[in-house]
């Protein structure tokens, strides 16, 4: 099966970049070994992103940078961050396009199960004043605090840019996945209705933010 995958790079892109924090730009990962030329071309583009990141790092740490103002230095970092985000968005779009191919009927039946599930979050899922999620009761427990913080940090980026870059999307996905794991581990200790409310909230939150589906 021809599939173009996309994964985030080795390290997270940081929202406020300093020279030592430079994230590795996203790398397109090609699972289709039968199309080595496509994989090789994707890798060449990925190398350009690394060269760009290294160049910005060098510029910020060069001798000339000694006379740079904090604002100028931050501008270089910000440009690099948005450049990374732009290429991540383009890779995600390419991955989405590559998935558009006819599926066998039996796979379409599985997709049918997904398509019948609610995708968006219902009204009242976010606080109108703060824009933060109105977490279901179970997800308000301290066990979920760390992941809640990640989600609440990334949601404004999605809101501003229209979508998350691949690295942010991966971080968001991992946070929501971890919440689902914690939830599942406590499944026998909580009322089933509350479990399903919390799980469905996570499912819809992940889909509406990253178009990624939990089962």
């Amino acid at each position: 099966m021809r599939r173009l995958l996309l994964i985030a790079g080795c390290l997270w892109a940081t929202s406020s970049l300093h020279a030592q924090d430079y994230g590795v730009p996203v790398m397109p990962l090609y699972g289709d070994y039968g199309h080595a030329s496509t994989a090789a071309e994707g890798a060449l583009d990925g190398m350009a992103n690394v060269v760009s990141a290294q160049g910005s790092y060098n510029l910020q740490t060069s001798e000339a940078a000694i006379n740079m103002t904090q604002a100028q230095s931050q501008e270089i970092a910000n440009r690099q961050q948005y450049a990374n985000t732009y290429f991540q968005m383009r890779s995600q779009r390419d991955a989405y396009e590559a998935k558009k191919h006819p599926r066998p009927t039996e796979e379409q039946l599985v997709q049918l199960a997904h398509s019948e599930a609610p995708k968006g979050l219902p009204d009242g899922s976010f606080n109108k004043e703060s824009g933060k999620p109105n977490w279901p009761t179970l997800l308000q427990y301290p066990d979920f605090a760390e992941q809640r913080k990640v989600v609440e940090t990334l949601l404004p980026k999605k809101s501003a840019n229209g979508m998350l870059g691949a690295q942010d999307a991966q971080q968001f996905t991992q946070a929501v996945e971890q919440m689902a794991v914690t939830l599942k581990r406590g499944i026998t200790k909580v009322p089933p209705q509350q479990y399903m409310t919390a799980y469905n909230y996570l499912k819809q939150l992940l889909y509406s933010t990253c178009q990624t589906q939990l089962p």
């Binding site: 690394v50 510029l59 039946l109 019948e116």
Partner: protein
């Protein structure tokens, strides 16, 4: 918090767009004009929304390209990102506008990124990019050079400028990369690259790579480059690891050579190393299965590794045991993907039937659907799962799961009279479904059942 004035403007934009869509084509023009006007709003939220609506309306390149290239100057990053995406989607039609944008200090950097994305399609921009490499400021010069590299044939014509950049500390790495991307290293540059290659760090790694790319028939040089790049995968520097990983894929390194170079046990390696190795493994095909199986030990890369194994189809069989364990993982997305991949492996994944049967009975959401699908794809060797499939088929209220179980039963034991009598009423009813997918699946099954009768 959103200001009331912003909310009002957004509401007006929404109604304008609705009006444009709901009325005749001629009536859409004033709406586009209003949206264009809104792109000059003082409020970034309004500008973002206006751009999104213009993209949605597709008024044509005559309207969008001049507008969007001007908007590349916008200080709001979200506005810029939307504009850049829209320009890149326009393809070669956007190139003249982007050449204009290269002349403006505020938009040049962003125009370079879009031109890099367009690659050879944007070759007309090569002279303007070269001028920027020579006379631009700061990192704009580097981005212009990288954009030039993305159009290798056009870049080759600018070789003297590229070689000159090798002597500039801020452009040297980008110049080495450009030479490698072009695939030609002139004699006057080759000596410099060979000297770099003897050193360490990113410029050394890139020089090795560029020399190999420019001498594809020199097997010894290419093998040495692959070994060197593979060593880079274990570097403590993330950028070196990333470069090594991409460099290996770009050189289309033969699997055997990669296996020798990647001899470390990935289950023992650090996660960032495994992430970069996965990129290489994805290009190796079945030869990489041993390493892919090892990488399943790392929770944060499991999902990606499973997807790559899934692409191998039946050749992913050696990973069956490891995948079967993941069917019971607490991470439901990982468990679900493991099930899907076992189905792609097919009959060779027969040892996973007990785990798949359990997930069919106890799974959550689409895990149940995918378990039925995987069991059906394993086929005759999933015989022990037929009672559970039959039970789920009869008890579920979900029509897609019902027909999936029927599909699985037919593929496991379609010749059996018991299966036929179980399945036939379900399939016959599904053939009358209003849902086209269910109806299609039912008709395909009826055809299969009839052919097995003959």
């Amino acid at each position: 918090m959103i200001r009331p004035a912003t909310l009002f403007t957004l509401a007006v934009l929404a109604s304008l767009t609705w009006h444009a869509v709901a009325t005749a084509e001629d009536a859409a023009k004033p709406s586009v004009e209003a949206l264009v006007e809104a792109t000059a709003s003082d409020d970034a939220t309004v500008r973002r929304e206006a751009i999104a609506k213009i993209v949605e309306l597709k008024p044509g390149p005559d309207v969008t390209i001049p507008l969007f290239t001007k908007l590349l100057e916008d200080a709001d990053p979200a506005v810029r990102l939307r504009v850049m995406n829209a320009i890149a989607d326009a393809g070669p039609a956007a190139v003249p506008g982007l050449i204009e944008a290269l002349k403006n200090e505020k938009s040049a950097y962003w125009a370079c990124l879009v031109l890099r994305e367009l690659g050879p399609e944007a070759a007309d921009a090569a002279p303007a990019l070269t001028a920027l490499v020579e006379h631009g400021q700061g990192e704009i010069r580097r981005e212009a050079l990288l954009s030039l590299a993305a159009m290798p044939k056009a870049a080759e014509k600018q070789m003297p400028v590229v070689i000159k950049c090798l002597a500039d500390p801020q452009l040297e790495i980008a110049a080495i990369y450009t030479l490698g991307r072009i695939g030609t290293v002139p004699a006057e540059a080759a000596e410099r690259l060979r000297a770099h290659a003897r050193g360490e760090g990113l410029s050394s790694l890139l020089s090795v790579w560029a020399l190999a790319r420019s001498n594809p028939s020199d097997k010894e040089l290419n093998q040495a480059a692959i070994k060197r790049l593979a060593t880079g995968l274990n570097s403590k520097y993330p950028l070196v690891r990333a470069m090594a990983s991409q460099g290996l894929v770009s050189l289309k390194a033969p699997p055997q050579l990669l296996k020798e170079a990647l001899k470390s046990d990935l289950s023992m390696a650090d996660e960032p190393v495994v992430r970069n190795a996965l990129n290489v493994l994805a290009s190796m095909g079945p030869e990489g299965i041993e390493f892919l199986t090892e990488s399943l030990q790392h929770p944060n890369v499991q999902h990606d590794a499973i997807l790559i194994i899934g692409d191998l189809g039946p050749k992913g069989a050696p990973a069956t045991e490891a995948l079967a364990k993941l069917v019971e993982a607490d991470n439901l997305r990982v468990a679900n993907q493991a099930i899907v991949t076992l189905g792609k492996i097919g009959p060779a994944a027969k040892s996973a039937v007990p785990q798949l049967t359990k997930s069919l009975k106890e799974g959550q959401g689409s895990i149940v659907h995918n378990s039925a699908l995987a069991l059906g794809r394993i086929g005759k060797d999933a015989q022990t799962a037929t009672p559970e499939l039959s039970q789920v088929m009869k008890s579920t209220n979900d029509p897609s799961l019902e027909i999936l179980c029927a599909w699985a039963l037919v593929h496991i034991a379609g010749d059996s009279a018991t299966t036929k009598s179980d399945v036939l009423p379900v399939v016959t009813a599904a053939a009358k479904s209003d849902n086209p997918v269910i109806q299609k699946a039912a008709n395909e099954l009826l055809t299969k059942l009839k052919s097995s009768d003959q």
